[in-house]
Assembly symmetry: C2
Homo-oligomer: 410 residues x 2
Amino acid sequence: MIGEIIAIGNELTSGRITNTTSAFAARELFLAGHEIYAMHTIGDTPKLIGEALKRAIRRVDFVIVTGGLGPTTDDLTNEAVAEALQRPATLNEAILEKIRSQLRDPDGQLDALEKLAWLPEGAEVLSAEERMAGHLLVHDDIPVFFLPGVPVQAQKLLVDIVLPRLSGWSGCNKYQRMRLYKTVGLPEHEINQRLMPLEQEKQVSVGYYPVDFEVHVSLSVSGSSAEEADTLLNDAEQRIQETLGDHIYGMDRETLAEVVGNLLRENRLMLSTAESCTGGLISSQLTSVPGSSEWFAGGVVAYSNHVKEVLLNVDRDLLRNYGVVSGQVARAMAARLAARVGTKISLSVTGIAGPGGGTEEKPVGTVYIGLFYKNKVKDTLHHFSGRRKEIQEMTAQTALDMVRRVLLEK
Amino acid sequence: MIGEIIAIGNELTSGRITNTTSAFAARELFLAGHEIYAMHTIGDTPKLIGEALKRAIRRVDFVIVTGGLGPTTDDLTNEAVAEALQRPATLNEAILEKIRSQLRDPDGQLDALEKLAWLPEGAEVLSAEERMAGHLLVHDDIPVFFLPGVPVQAQKLLVDIVLPRLSGWSGCNKYQRMRLYKTVGLPEHEINQRLMPLEQEKQVSVGYYPVDFEVHVSLSVSGSSAEEADTLLNDAEQRIQETLGDHIYGMDRETLAEVVGNLLRENRLMLSTAESCTGGLISSQLTSVPGSSEWFAGGVVAYSNHVKEVLLNVDRDLLRNYGVVSGQVARAMAARLAARVGTKISLSVTGIAGPGGGTEEKPVGTVYIGLFYKNKVKDTLHHFSGRRKEIQEMTAQTALDMVRRVLLEK
C-alpha cells in the first residue's frame, strides 16, 4: 500500500525539535512492504492540517498523522479534523473515566486533561489499555491513523497496532524484499561505480546513503511471487558481498557496536576501553547494546593526565617525553588497562578533538588509537577533520572498526 | 519572509535516515525572523520533486531544497528542476575544472563526478571556494536555494550563505524575538497550567515541547519596533522565570551538560564520574562540550564488578552484602573515585538498565545515584521506566541535574 505521513507541531516547523517519528514510521512501513509517497511537516495550524489531510486522502491508500493530540492549548489536530472532514469532536466517556481514575487529584487536574477525551466523530481508540492518545478514523475508505507526537508512544503504537492493522487491510500482489548493507572505509562514489552493473538489472534497485561516516547501501527487489523475490534478493546480495567484501560490517539495523559485541562473544573475549578525547563515547555506544555486560568489562575515561597516571599507571615520563597525544601513550593506555582489569583485548584513544588544543605539529583531529590483543599492542595514527563532535564520532567508529577487523583475522 | 523546505531522497522516505537538516534549517530561519509554512520530504522522483517545487514557488517567498545533488545515479534533483521549471542542465566549466584539479586520478574518476558540474540554467553557485554542491536559482522572483543532502555541508551553506542572502532580500516590518526555556522536573500539563495567563496575552505565543525527558517552553513575541519586541520579551521572560523557578536549567541551545560545566567552572571544581549502567553516557555528554577539560577530570566506566573492585577500590564485601545495585555501592563508588583521582565532586551511577537483570526486589529501571561533594556522600534511589536506552538517558539527565542543583545551593 502507498501512504503519506503528516507530522504536526510548531516545535517541528520552527526546528526546535527534529522530527524522528516520521523517519521511524517510514522505515517500519517500508520494511513491511509499503511505500511512502511523501512526508509533510506542518505547524499547529488547523487550515494547513486540514488541507494536507484532504489531499492525502485523495491520493494514497493510508495516512499516518502524528502530533497535536496532547492536552495543551496548542494541540489542534482534532479541531482541524473536525473542520476539514466534517467530523465534530465527540466526548469519549471511556477515556474520560480512565483519565479520572488515574489522577491523584481529579478535581485539580481534570480540566486540563479532559481535552484528551474529545475525539473526532467515528474515531476508534487504538490502545484501550494504556494511557496514550491515538485513534483510527476511516474516511472515504482510507484509514487515517492519528498518533501522539511523543516519539516513544508513536513508535510503540505504530509497531504494535498500526502495522498489524494495515497488513490486514488489503491484499498486495507485489512481493518486495529490502536489505541494507552498512559499510565503512569506501567513499560513496567508489561503491556506486562498483555496483553500477547491478543497478542496471530490472526488478532491482540500489541506493547509496552516507550516514555519519558510514555508507549504507540499500537493495530492494520486487517479484511477482514470494519465491521470485527471495531468489532475486539472494542473487543480488551475493554480488554485493563479493563486490564490497569486508567493507560491509553489518546489515539492516545492526550497529557497529553490536557487530563488535557479537564477535567478542563468539571469541569469548571481554573488552576494556581507555578513552581520552572520546570521553566515554565508545563505551557508551558499546553499553547501549543489550547484554553488553557479557563482553564489555568497562574501563577508564582518562580525560586529565592525572587520571591517566593514577587509574592507568601511565608513566609521567612517558607523558612528558612523547606528549599525551602520541602512539607511545596510546599503547601504554591500552596495555596498562588490560593488565589492571584483566582483559585479553583493550582499546585506547588519545587525540585532539578541538576546537582548542591543536598545535602546528599536532593539529586538531590528530588521533592515536591503541589496541592490545594477543599480548601485543599496536597503535595507529589518524587525521580527522570536522567539528568536535564529528571528530569524536569518527574516532569512535574507526576504533570500533579496528576491533572488528582484528577479530575477523584468522 | 515565509518559506518552505523540501528535502529529497529515498533514504528519507524509506526512513533509512532521519531528516535532521530540515529541522536545523527551520530553526535557523525561525531565529532569523522567518516563518516556515511547511516542510516536505519526498523520494528521488522527478515528477514529485517538480510538483512540490512549483507549488512552493506559487505560495511562499523563498524555498530551500536539500538533497539529490550528489554524483550517484539516484540523485535526480537537477533533472527534476530542468523538467519542471524548463531550465535545462548546463555544463558549468568552472566546477568541472575544480573537480578535475582535485582528483588524483582524473581519467578514472571524472566520469562519475562530471555530473556535479551540470546545473539548471541560470543557477548561481553558492560556494566558489569549497568543494561542495549548492546553488541558487531565482524563479518567478522567488529565490530557491539548492543545498547538498549531507547535513554538515547543508548546515554550513545555510548559515554562511543562505541566511545572509535572505536577510538582504526584502525589508521586513515585523520584529520577532524568540527564546526557549529548558526545564526538568515538571510535567508538561503542569507547566501549561501555570503559564496559561501569559498565553492569553496578545503579541505573545507560548509552546510546550517534551524533548527526551525535558520539557522545553518556547516564547515568541512580535512587536512593530525592535524596542517594543525587546520589552515584550523581557516582561514575558520575567514571568516565566518567576513561575518555573529553578526547574529552568537553561535557555536556547544550552544543554544540561553545558550548564553543569559552567557551574563547575564558576566554582573552580573538577568533576569525576563512576558509571555502571550508563556505561559512559554521562562522561560522553560532558565531554561533548568544548573546553570540558577545564572542569571534567574523567572517571571510570565500572561495568563489571571486577572493574569496580580494581579501579574504584569498592570492597568485595560491600558488593556481596548489599548487591551491586544499592545505595551503599553508589556512595562507595563516588567517594572512592573522588579520593583516587583527587576531585572535590564526584558522581556515581549503579542500576539496572535492562532488558535483562531485573529481579522482583530490584526491577529493571532501579537506579541509585551517588554524589560526593564537600566531603560528604549521599545517594538517591530512582525508579525509571522505558526501554534500555531511555533508562540510560533518564539516569544521565537526573544525575547531571543533581550536580546542577547541588552547585546552585548557597
